[in-house]
Amino acid sequence: MTRASKSLRLGAIAATFALGLGSAFAADPIKIGSVVSATGPASFLGDPEARTLKMQVEAINKAGGVNGRPLELVLYDDGGDANKARTFATRLVEDDKVVAMVGGTTTGTTMAMIPVFEDAKIPFISLAGAIEIVEPVRAYVFKTPQTDKVACEAIFADMQARGFKKIGMISGTDGFGKSMRNQCMKVVGSFGIEVAADESYGPQDTDMTPQLTRIKNTDGIQAVVNPGFGQGPAIVTRNYAQLGIKLPFYQSHGVASKSFIELAGAAAEGVRLPAGALLVAEQLPDSDKQKKIVVDYKKAYEAATGQPVSTFGGYAYDGLAILVNAIETTKSTDPQKLRDAIEGTNGFVATTGVFNFTKDDHMGLDRTAFRMLEIKNGGWTIVGSGS
């Protein structure tokens, strides 16, 4: 109970009481909170996340729960609105008294919720991409998706291996594209690569031929990379083919889904991108540590929802798995102990990669979490491990 004396915050005190009561009745459910963007502009991320969390909690409870106690998922939909997300976060802490939180679909909603959980000293495993979430490291905040910085490194490592020195970049001006562009710019030099043309486009733009024409007319460019998200990269890819640009073309993990291939059509042939193991579950060699977990999750998700599995649902799967692992190893639901256990997670194989959290790294993934894929005949082919 030293925690309560440190903080006079109502939420923390209330949470402590709830925990005290919780441990008195062993069969009481363990309350896990979640705020995701199941509707709204980020729904294609949040929807599979919400479905995955519901599906997994159900599966865990069917198998007897965690430490003999069932899980109770308190799930809210913020519709992609950061203000709503923060309100729900407060509700999770003060009214629902959850022991931990797995959620935060977008970087925007995550950043809005961080102060709530930091103040309440409750672990928060975010499902959003940007590096700002874990840099600087915050005591109670973790995340499961690879950062854009790691994706940039995976792309540049592949380019370096193919001997490219001068490249063009065309990025979306949405949050994802902007953040990834900045991260790429930071690390590109260390791979001996120069960005000779740096173009951008709006997230809702419908024609990027002017920008690509500029790249095409820049001397000496050997490859082009397109950090972006949503339909923009599909349009860029089609414009790329329309202009007859023959240079190798790289997309980001932001479009690592079947729908990108469907939208871009034949123009997507030969495009390379870094992606998680989930996308190529069946193609992984049997020796791959992640193979079993990604194949199992894929089957379970597709059977439960009737929809193709998505990387984004995998982030939620991993977040919940890491949390459940922490509850199991500590045999406790004390948020402080859970936090320490999550930070101590080591060699934990999940769908996104193998997690090694440390005091200084609350993302826990490196370049090996990415496989370099190439689109061939409308499907994915593994061309490199990304490491």
Binding site: T39, E199, Y201, T209, T213, R214, G230, S259
Partner: protein, 290 residues
Amino acid sequence: MAELLQFVFSGLTVGAIYAIVALGFTLVYNASDIVNFAQGEFVMIGGLATVFLVAAGIPLPLAALIAIVSAVIVGLLLHRLAIEPAHGATPVTLIIITIGASIFIRGVAQIVFDKQFHKLQPFTGETPIAVLGATILPQSLWVLGGTLVIVAAVFWFLERTVAGKALRATAANRLAARLVGIDTTMVLMLAFGVSAAIGAIAGVLVTPITFTRYDVGTILALKGFAAAMLGGMGSPIGSVVGGLLLGLLESLGAGYISSTYKDAVAFIAILLVFFVMPQGLFGGRHIERV
């Protein structure tokens, strides 16, 4: 030269979309002083409904026709259920109603369709046509041709038909129009129906290039509105010129100045036009109204 031509192709294709949306704004505005912010939703309905009908096995022309008719029905319902009951309210109130209606339509579309992006096969293949070193997609020609036909049809409608003349009369002076026996409510309904139809046709034409989703209407409405203002709110010819000009400004801005500031380039150009001609390029008919 090839570079310039490429930028012009890009600008015209994008501009044609803005132009059709702007034309839809103009028709409703002329009949009522309402800026119908649900105009972009008609484009969405046209595109998405076609995608889903084609996926259900219905041939493209029939699917497009059903989609356009559906959009017209939505347009008429919008008028009947949202605009007409607020009869006598100020234009500002009515504009706010249309914003509410657009949010409502997007919400329904999310449920009726889904939340994913969808594409439609181009009507006549995907092989780019090379012109003097630049390339243009066959579908862009469809968009440009379609725009031309729509604009011609709207002008024919306004100049040659009784209903069109009634619309123009209402635009010129509503009270006088009513005095000579024009049913201005019917005219407004007609304007909603026609603008929904042209919006939906635009949706069918552009979806193979731009993709579509339940929420694509928002940005189209904004760009179309900017185009209509640039051309002069209320002038059909102005809305077409405004749309094409906005598209060209964006693509030339992105091509010659900087893609980071391409929207800024377009909007600064619009602001400059307003400094010199506050009514827009072809506007100015409404100044006498006090």
